[in-house]
């Protein structure tokens, strides 16, 4: 048992709760792991830790709905403990973990294990996704009922698309019976490449995937969602064409949601520049018009959440010729800062940006997180919106250092993270 955290009072911060739209300067009381009160000038009784939040923003701890953990199976890249440290440094108190680990999270015992491992960190809640198909191999449905009972929040094969149309149809139909979503990695199967097809990939001589591969699978799966009445979620959507399809499907009343990841609204394909493998991602970075479309879709509500799509890699995974290097970038520490750049740039309000990082992914996953209101768990993130810092690969908290944002100057520094009333980052 950990000792009870000391009661604390965070004073004078701009308190933002996107779930309710609440935005005011106030003092926030933390006691017994929950938010005990929000108000002004409450004084500081004996034994209460006082934290000065003046000039800062206090918001719910971030809910990152797409994180690959190195554990189980790739502990040399990252462990749950190191990922938890990186998450705390990024203001994240809840993360949804992808199941395409080794072994895949396709049994109730593994789901339970992953949840427990999150609790053991004391700093982050792990919401396990479970495999959509046994072993994430795309062939046989996993036990959605038993997995959901064990605590799986949704079903996905992680970075592997559910390729077969019949299999995807079965998955959507079967998941509907248990009230869960299927999360799809939208890239039409059969293509493979290290970059997005176009002038840049041609000039660099890289094998490339057409951007249309994303819209192709989105189009198919929207039809299947319509056919089955199932709920589909598209991860890290990155192209204008796919977003247009999703926008139209939403206005048509289909049960569809999507997220994107910071690289797809902050970077374009030129970031791979001189064969920089840290900018090799899956899906690959896109051309500028696609990045602009992602920015628009964030603002107009088409995109429901911003997730880090954190994919830890070892230096050796990346120190290879570009086409042979592993795809994927870290994202826990930079999730907030890159998103805030959209606020600074005038594309998003601070309230909308924080909703994309907290209440919206939480409600999409059907969990009681991402709220800052009396009685809610004291999962909090305190940050200074103007304080600048620089992303330097090799100096980031946590183990994996493969950030695509190496060298990027950011505004918005996390000064404190609380999990159930306990300070887990300072």
């Amino acid at each position: 048992m950990r000792p009870e955290p000391q009661p604390a009072l965070i004073t004078g911060a701009r308190v933002i709760d996107p779930a309710s739209g609440h935005d005011t300067v106030a003092d926030v009381w933390l006691r017994d792991g929950v938010i005990a009160g929000i108000g002004r000038n409450q004084g500081t009784p004996e034994g209460v830790l006082r934290i000065d939040g003046a000039g800062c923003v206090l918001c719910p701890g971030l809910v990152d709905m797409r994180v690959a953990l190195g554990e189980p199976g790739h502990e040399y890249r990252e462990t749950i403990a190191t990922a938890a440290r990186a998450a705390a440094a990024g203001g994240i108190t809840t993360l949804a973990a992808l199941p395409d680990s080794s072994p895949a999270i396709d049994g109730p015992a593994l789901v339970h294990w992953l949840r427990t491992r999150g609790e053991e960190t004391g700093s982050v809640t792990i919401l396990p996704y479970a495999a959509a198909t046994q072993g994430c191999a795309g062939e046989v449905l996993a036990e959605y009922g038993l997995l959901a009972e064990a605590g799986a929040v949704a079903f996905t094969d992680g970075a592997r698309p559910i390729a077969n149309a019949r299999q995807m149809r079965l998955a959507l139909a079967y998941a509907r019976g248990f009230g869960r979503r299927i999360v799809q990695h939208p890239e039409y199967p059969g293509f493979s490449g290290a970059a997005t097809e176009g002038a840049l990939a041609t000039r660099l001589g890289l094998p490339a995937v057409p951007a249309a591969a994303e819209a192709m699978l989105v189009a198919r799966d929207l039809r299947l969602a319509q056919l089955t009445g199932g709920a589909v979620h598209f991860a890290h959507v990155s192209t204008a064409e796919a977003l247009a399809l999703i926008r139209a499907a939403k206005s048509g009343g289909l049960n569809v949601t999507c997220d994107t990841a910071p690289p797809y609204f902050d970077l374009n394909e030129t970031a791979i520049g001189d064969f920089r493998t840290y900018a090799k991602l899956n899906p690959p970075l896109r051309a500028e018009p696609d990045r602009e479309a992602v920015v628009t879709a964030l603002a107009d509500g088409t995109i429901d959440a911003i997730a880090s799509d954190h994919q830890p890699r070892d230096a050796d995974d990346k120190r290879l010729p570009f086409a042979q290097a592993a795809a994927g970038g870290t994202g826990l520490v930079t999730l907030l800062g890159i998103t805030l750049a959209q606020v600074t740039g005038g594309n998003l309000t601070l309230m909308a940006a924080l909703a994309l990082l907290t209440s919206r992914p939480a409600s999409l996953l059907g969990v009681e997180a991402g709220r800052l209101s009396p009685g809610a768990p004291a999962d909090l993130c305190l940050f200074h919106a103007e304080r600048a810092w620089r992303v330097v690969a090799g100096e980031l908290p946590g183990k994996a250092q493969n950030t695509p944002f190496d060298g990027r100057a950011l505004e918005g520094r996390v000064l404190g993270t609380w999990k159930a009333g306990r300070r887990v980052h300072a």
């Binding site: 036990e143 079965l170 079967y174 509907r176 019976g177």
Partner: protein
Amino acid sequence: MTQDRYRFPHRHLLGIEGLYPPEILQILDLAESYVLLNRKGKTSRDLLRGRTMINLFFEDSTRTRTSFELAGKRLGADVLNMSVATSSVNKGETLLDTATTLNAMQCDLLVVRHDQSGAPALLARKVDAAVINAGDGTHEHPTQALLDALTIRRRKGRLDGLTIAICGDMLHSRVARSNIHLLTTLGNQVRLVGPPTLIAAEAERLGVTVCHDMRAGLAGADVVMMLRLQRERMAAGLVPSVREYFRFFGLDATKLHAAKPDAIVMHPGPMNRGVEIASEIADDPAVSVIADQVEMGVSVRMAVLDVLSRAGRNAP
């Protein structure tokens, strides 16, 4: 024998769909009288004397074939069994060639089981005999629905205004389809309960409600009808595992608790214990009427043979 004023107007029994309530009730009433006669061992062996009945089974079946055979023999018919393993169908003969052969044999009653939906209907267009569908593909199994109806009526005292939950693999079930037609025609409320992967598209259009949660589906039910889940469904990926299926869609005492206290449990057989039904339920005489169903099967089939052979007998 029962002197019905209502004359059964169909030459064949290919399905329940399209039958009117009085036609269904006529068969059930007649079957009821056969139940009593069967129990006393006093069935007439003259009714179908000199008539030929062929059980033409393209699919393995023990209980349905035996039940028809017994029904035919109790009415005095000459009964022949032809099964696919011994017939010339294996040698490449088409279904219609088989029909021609059977016609030449002057068969009066032809009982057909086939793995293809619509095969008995195809035969019916080509043979002179009265054709009885003993189960075709995933289409219909009319005598099963009739025997289920008789079982329900004897237990519940009525066959209207009841709530009946049909649970399991409706997608592949001819039993479910025939039961849906029969029970809705007579004014009962039918619910289909199962995972979405085992419920056919637009099943609601058959006049039923669909439910994916077993407890909700069983709530307040008078009758719980379980369907067989074949292992092939697992291989086809429609259901992930037996343990998951049993946990969410298998009938056990806990789930049955949601139904009415006097609810009865039915199963067309053969049962997969521990897959769709727990032994504690299947073997509980207080709720399970599975043995009754088998008994009713013979009487219902006698009634069907009776009504269909009347035309040729100049019976009223």
